[in-house]
Amino acid sequence: MISTELVDISRLQFAMVALFHFLFVPLTLGMTFLLVIMESTYVVTGKQVYKDMTQFWGKLFGINFALGVTTGITMEFQFGTNWAYYSHYVGDIFGAPLAIEGLMAFFLESTFIGLFFFGWEKLSKVKHLMVTMLVALGSNLSALWILVANGWMNNPVGSDFSYVTMRMEMTGFWDVIFNPQAQAKFVHTVSAGYVTASVFVLGISSWYLLKGRDIEFAKRSFRIAAAFGFASALSVIVLGDESGYTVGANQETKMAAIEAMWHTEPAPASFNLIAGVDEAHQKNDWAIEIPYVMGLIGTRSTTKTIPGIAEIKARNLVRIQNGIHAVTALAALRANPADAVARAEFDRYKADLGFGLLLKKYTSDVSKATPDMIRMADDDTIPRVLPLFWTFRFMVAIGFGLLLLFVLALYASVKNDFVQKRWLLRWAVWFIPVPWMAAEMGWFVAEYGRQPWTIYGVLPTWLSTSTLTSASVYASLTGFLLLYAGLFVVEMYLMVKFARQGPSSLYTGRYAGETAQGAVA
């Protein structure tokens, strides 16, 4: 049977494998575009150094890509192995973007990546560039489809519950695709990937410059990364703000929690820059506020209010009480589909079915839920505020830090004095891991902030798991930890080894540390 332990350990496993997978995704998303830029420059100018850049950065990209593929297969298994009821309950909608992702994006990316690595001698310059572009297109399309799926989890549009099949069914595919949440998430996420790859290239190039080796190669790489990174960092912030706005419309809960806004404030609400969050007493001991900003982000107006946590809970309490009717009527309908009274009752309260299901955590017979159970279920509708509040702020701070780095790097590369600015180069090197931290935090805010739901307002996380024993899930989690730890060590070892070796790993004879003839390892 489902136990809190099973649900928690299953969540931990999903979080672990998803966060680990997402260590490799952003770099893939961004590197493919940087490779397109480098190779296009090669095709246009005919300068060998740009081909070398494409091949060398492509090598590092490949080391990362292998683990992206490996850990990506896990994600497809996770839903079926560990979240079977979820897969049944929403597969009708959630499965489609995943299957289309395979058909439209993975095939494209994976078929052409082989030609990217092995087709240099078999393809003309222009054809090879086309191949590289298709890899970039494929990897970014895959991000689109997975975020369409994820956007639907946060804002389940275009679907309806069927009591015959006991699941959610698709009613409007275009609504699912053009879900504003999905669109905002997509652009925010791919831009974050572009920033990650830009910092990666900028940082490693800076390290070569600090060491005084492969100067021309590193300078050119630095410039491309600085320009691409500046544009991307700007777009992450602008589009992150856009996802703030759509969260405001669809998922006020997440926003109220991120903001630690315990009560509705008069419009336009101020933004808590930082605050002393007291979760136990549902208040902030102190806060440094920026007037108006929250209202502007959340509503794009100065007159609309944003509901606070207390008001959201009051609303949810009513929905849970309505939901009890829906769950009870559904049980009657399942027993006797011809029951017209139950049918009418169900249709009346169906919109709140998910809220009624929240009570399943406390009782198997929802119709007999006590006021205490209802109060606990209502408390559950708000995710924990403290981790969301701070994770979000660290993520945003990193975003602005990265923007500043790229402003300075771009300015220096226009003035062409970055080789002398050793402090800037050192900053770029130290910042290599930083975009990953922001990306992981972003995932955390998005997914943890959706709790207690897997599908917001529709399916509680608590009901979504497979009927496994906790022991099985502990055991598989241990297996994942061991395998992933081993793979991570190997990947980092190779990445550092080849980054240190630099373009001489191409054995062309043109780079630092090689003999004039370009000889052996």
Binding site: T81, A96, L108, F112, L115, W120, L123, R167
Partner: protein
């Protein structure tokens, strides 16, 4: 919009096509991985073997990913029930697949013999384990799987991992392993020469013959040794899918009913034998491409035989036959099936087109000279 019953049938065929695509494309990579330590006796020979699939394994693996995604989208109850029920078997497949991307990509990055032979065995595991387990899974599907649903359609698997490894299922595992390995050997015939070619030819003959024998043995076992399932009521082909709304009985030899009702379907197992024979004869006659086509037809026949024998069942339940999953009641809504039908119709031909182009670009034998001359750019 297409009729619901027609869409359900189409999706049974499409899942079959995706499985076959997986067997032909990812299957030859896996066969090559299985044979790697045996047909390549030194590092350069092994690099030849790996580079025959080097540019394509990643694209081919997407047949597997897309097959999984399509089952999720078209048969969500099958995806949910099979993946969670066969929990440890699925994890064994997944974990063995881990060794492929890193094995292919990382092996060549360091010259140490220990490093390289470690990844060779990794590629062996990634090539040999998944087909074996898929075969074992099919062997269990044919016997029925111990699971049932509660009233909320939550599935409960009541068997153990070890119970999956019963004699008939292990035989089915051998069918699958031998057919995939023979197919991989045939691919090596196309892309290699010299010693590697000779060893691959031996492997093709051996595994091709074994595939025929094990398939025949499994056929006899199905006829006389295990009960099939029969749908006796409810479960309307055009109706809303509800697995609890039917009656099912088990009967000896019931898996042969479709062949007597529709004798044309006998062509499917016949194709398995014919393809297998062509593969063996062509390998003997040194006709690699014909052998490869033969083993492809062989797999079409074998996978098709499993599908036709069980139709309309996909995943019968041994403990609660009523909970069995069929083509009619484990599917998505008409809207989703219709949508996915069009998506497949548009994108799958496109995939086949550019995959063919990729193979054409990289065609030709992979030679010892090639791998020696590409120490730092090939695998």
């Amino acid at each position: 919009m297409l009729d619901y019953e027609v869409l359900k049938l189409i999706w049974w065929l499409f899942v079959g096509v995706l499985l076959l695509g997986f067997a032909i494309m990812d299957g030859h990579d896996m066969g090559v991985g299985t044979l790697l330590p045996f047909v390549g006796k030194n590092d350069n020979e092994r690099r030849v073997v790996i580079n025959t699939v080097g540019p394509h394994w990643d694209g081919n693996q997407v047949w597997f990913i897309t097959g999984g995604g399509a089952i999720f989208a078209a048969w969500p109850l099958v995806y949910a029930t099979a993946f969670s029920g066969f929990y440890w078997a699925m994890l064994a497949v997944l974990w063995s697949l881990f060794f492929r991307p890193v094995g292919f990509d990382y092996r060549s990055k360091i010259a140490s013999p220990l490093w390289r032979s470690t990844w060779d065995w990794g590629l062996f595991i990634g090539g040999a384990v998944p087909p074996l387990i898929f075969g074992v899974a099919f062997g269990n599907l044919l016997q029925g799987v111990p699971f049932h649903f509660d009233n909320d359609l939550r599935s409960y698997y009541t068997g153990s991992f070890w119970a999956l490894l019963n004699p008939f299922a292990l035989l089915a595992g051998l069918v699958s392993t031998t057919m995939i390995t023979a197919h991989g050997a045939n691919f090596l015939l196309i892309r290699t020469e010299g010693d590697v070619y000779r060893r691959a030819r031996t492997a093709s003959l051996l595994f091709g013959a074994l595939s025929l024998l094990t398939f025949a043995a499994a056929g006899v076992w199905v006829m006389h040794g295990i009960n099939g399932f029969v749908l006796t009521g409810g479960d309307l082909p055009g109706g809303l899918p509800n697995p609890m709304d039917k009656t099912v009985v088990t009967a000896p030899g019931a898996w042969l009913h479709n062949y007597s009702a529709y004798p044309l379907t006998l062509l499917v197992p016949a194709a398995a034998f014919a393809g297998g024979l062509v593969s063996v004869v062509a390998a003997l006659a040194n006709r690699p491409l014909t052998a490869f086509i033969g083993s492809s037809v062989n797999m079409l026949g074998i996978i098709g035989t499993a599908g036709v024998s069980m139709f309309p069942f996909i995943m019968p339940s041994s403990t609660d036959p009523r909970s069995s999953l069929t083509v009619w009641d484990s599917v998505s809504s008409q809207t989703t099936l219709g949508l996915m039908f069009w998506a497949t119709l548009i994108f799958l031909p496109l995939v086949i087109f550019y995959t063919s182009w990729a193979y054409k670009v990289m065609s030709g034998k992979v030679t010892l000279d090639y791998v020696k001359g590409h120490d730092h750019s090939a695998y």
